[in-house]
């Protein structure tokens, strides 16, 4: 019994690791490809050892876009993105996952109170804000990180994967 149970426990842990890897390969295969623009990040030193922090055009929206009254306790929001000239931008925010058609896609985001220098805004985190780089290659990327196009795969089950960064 004991013998069986530890093997099962190890098997579950392996399955978790496989699932993480597998879901990202699956997102690659079945996901829809979208492109979003990056913009400069507030802290000037964005290279944190092995990754570069990324900020996108879609990372900040006006508080008026929030469905209803903007409450700081509401953290999860669904962001509908729409395409124009090959680049996606924010169309609307909603509290429940909306049905979309055409080229629109929906990303789940983590909302937090932000400030754009003149007024309160809503910051949105998609899980796309880090790009891991090989040792010592981050510097070159850091300098142009504010003006890149990110290629992202959006899987039908909502998972997102940052595939690559283009000039």
């Amino acid at each position: 019994m004991k013998k069986l149970s530890w093997k099962l426990a190890v098997a579950i842990q392996l399955a978790v690791l496989l699932l993480i890897a597998g879901s990202y390969y699956a997102a690659d295969m079945f996901g829809r490809e979208i492109a979003i623009k990056t913009k400069p990040v507030d802290p000037s030193d964005i290279l944190y050892g092995d990754y570069v922090i990324l900020n996108y055009d879609i990372s900040e929206v006006d508080t008026s876009m929030w469905p209803g009254e903007w409450e700081h306790n509401d953290k999860t929001v669904f962001v509908t993105l729409t395409e124009k000239d090959g680049i996606y931008s924010v169309k609307e925010l909603s509290k429940n996952r909306p049905d979309v058609d055409g080229s629109d896609v929906v990303l789940k985001a983590n909302a937090y109170p932000s400030w754009n220098g003149t007024k309160d805004t809503i910051g949105l985190q998609y899980g796309l804000e880090r790009f891991y780089v090989e040792d010592n290659t981050g510097k070159a990327l850091e300098e142009k990180a504010g003006d890149l196009t990110a290629i992202v795969k959006v899987a039908p089950w909502g998972q997102v994967k940052l595939v690559e960064l283009k000039d």
Partner: protein
């Protein structure tokens, strides 16, 4: 206990005629030889740590050149390797080596998730990493029932909650359930005093994070602890009663200190207070419950502990902030005095020390806060030092008198 010590003391007992030579040897025989065991038990642990580190650093330095699938394979091999080796040693009865290898297995599971995350540019904005990670530790805690797994599970859950709070500004309910149910149930079953205390402290910290996350006025947290305190008055003699009630009292003390400093220094002009009437009603209900429980279970001697929860901050409705702050100071003096009186009455040495400590701290706090501005600094420190020496001497003498002349 050290066997050497028993041999040494045993000779004295024989010389004093308390036990015979034979009895002393029999007593000593009750305790196993363990002087070398501790240190040799640690060696495999360090050995496995070093080997683990060497593997990790080797992989890390070559990591960039490895394809994602191969990375996954390496992580899986390391994980299975550590667990299999650990289980083998456990089956052989080599506990410390087996446990250390299994801990390396648990570490490689979490490290594996993190490394895969980096490989796939994955970031999660919740505590799922620590949820999965601590589940592995909880599994071994329940199976092996070893202190080290309690520690590992506690650290993973606690750090996970802290991390979720500081990185994602959110309280993880799943981690709280793992703490309350996973750690809590084990603590309940094991019934070891240290675990009970650790659990009650952990519970209080999680409650604090929860209240902050909910954006609730923190005064409600004080009421929450008043309620916890009162609820444990209803049970007669549960092993959790003292840890939870004392943790609640300590929380009350922290609130009182904070309010005293804030109010007397006008640090926060518009401290926002909860709804006065609602708070007062709920406080009366909670303290009524507490008094009822104390009467029923014969705990009326410690009824003074309720004083720390009294919402004196409501006085700001009628008094100035400064005066309310002073009321808190007076309350703290009375509270530590009552604690000392209780300790003298029951000859409870630990409470005596706690009471003396509290009394000295309150005195020093009042002195620093109120006399700092008026006295030249050298005189200030001199008087402060003398004050503490004097008070300490009086209180310690009183303590000795009580403990020695108890019969009178």
């Amino acid at each position: 206990m050290n066997k050497k010590w028993i041999h040494h003391e045993g000779k004295k007992w024989v010389n004093e005629g308390i036990v015979t030579e034979e009895q002393a040897q029999r007593i000593a025989a009750l305790y196993p030889e363990e002087s070398n065991k501790k240190i040799t038990g640690l060696l495999p642990l360090f050995g496995s740590l070093l080997i683990g580190l060497s593997i990790l650093s080797f992989i890390a330095s070559n990591w960039d050149g490895i394809t994602p699938l191969f990375r996954l394979l390496i992580i899986a091999l390391i994980l299975v390797g550590f667990y299999t080796a650990g289980e083998r040693y456990l089956a052989k009865g080599q506990k410390s080596l087996g446990n250390s290898l299994i801990i390396l297995g648990i570490i490689s599971f979490g490290a594996g998730i993190i490394l895969l995350g980096q490989t796939f540019n994955l970031i999660s904005y919740d505590a799922r990493l620590f949820v999965l990670w601590s589940l592995a530790a909880l599994y071994y805690l329940y199976r092996e029932k070893q202190r080290i797994f309690y520690l590992v599970a506690l650290v993973l859950i606690g750090y996970g909650q802290f991390n979720s709070f500081s990185e994602f500004n959110s309280f993880s309910y799943v981690l709280f359930i793992l703490f309350a149910a996973g750690i809590g149930w084990y603590t309940y079953k094991a019934n070891i005093s240290a675990y009970n205390w650790i659990f009650s402290f952990g519970f209080s910290l999680q409650a604090l994070l929860f209240f902050i996350d909910m954006d609730w006025n923190l005064f409600w947290l004080l009421l929450f602890f008043t309620g916890v305190y009162a609820l444990f008055d209803l049970v007669e003699n549960h092993p959790w009663k003292r840890p939870f009630q004392q943790t609640a009292v300590i929380t009350g003390l922290i609130f009182a200190y904070f309010l005293y400093f804030t109010l007397t220094n006008n640090w926060n002009d518009n401290l926002s207070y909860p709804n006065e009437i609602l708070y007062l009603l709920l406080f009366i209900a909670a303290s009524g419950l507490s008094v009822y429980g104390k009467r029923r279970n014969g705990n009326m001697l410690v009824i003074w502990e309720l004083l720390i929860f009294v919402p004196l901050f409501l006085l700001t409705a009628a008094l100035s902030q400064f005066v309310t702050g002073i009321v808190y100071l007076v309350m703290l003096f009375i509270f530590s005095g009552l604690m000392l009186e209780y300790a003298y009455k029951t000859e409870n040495r630990r409470r005596m020390n706690a009471g003396i400590f509290l009394f000295l701290v309150v005195t020093l706090m009042a002195y620093f806060n109120l006399a700092w501005a008026f006295l030249p600094k050298s005189l200030f420190f001199l008087i402060g030092g003398l004050l503490l020496f004097g008070l300490n001497a009086i209180l310690q003498r009183k303590k000795k008198e009580m403990l020695n002349g108890g019969g009178k």
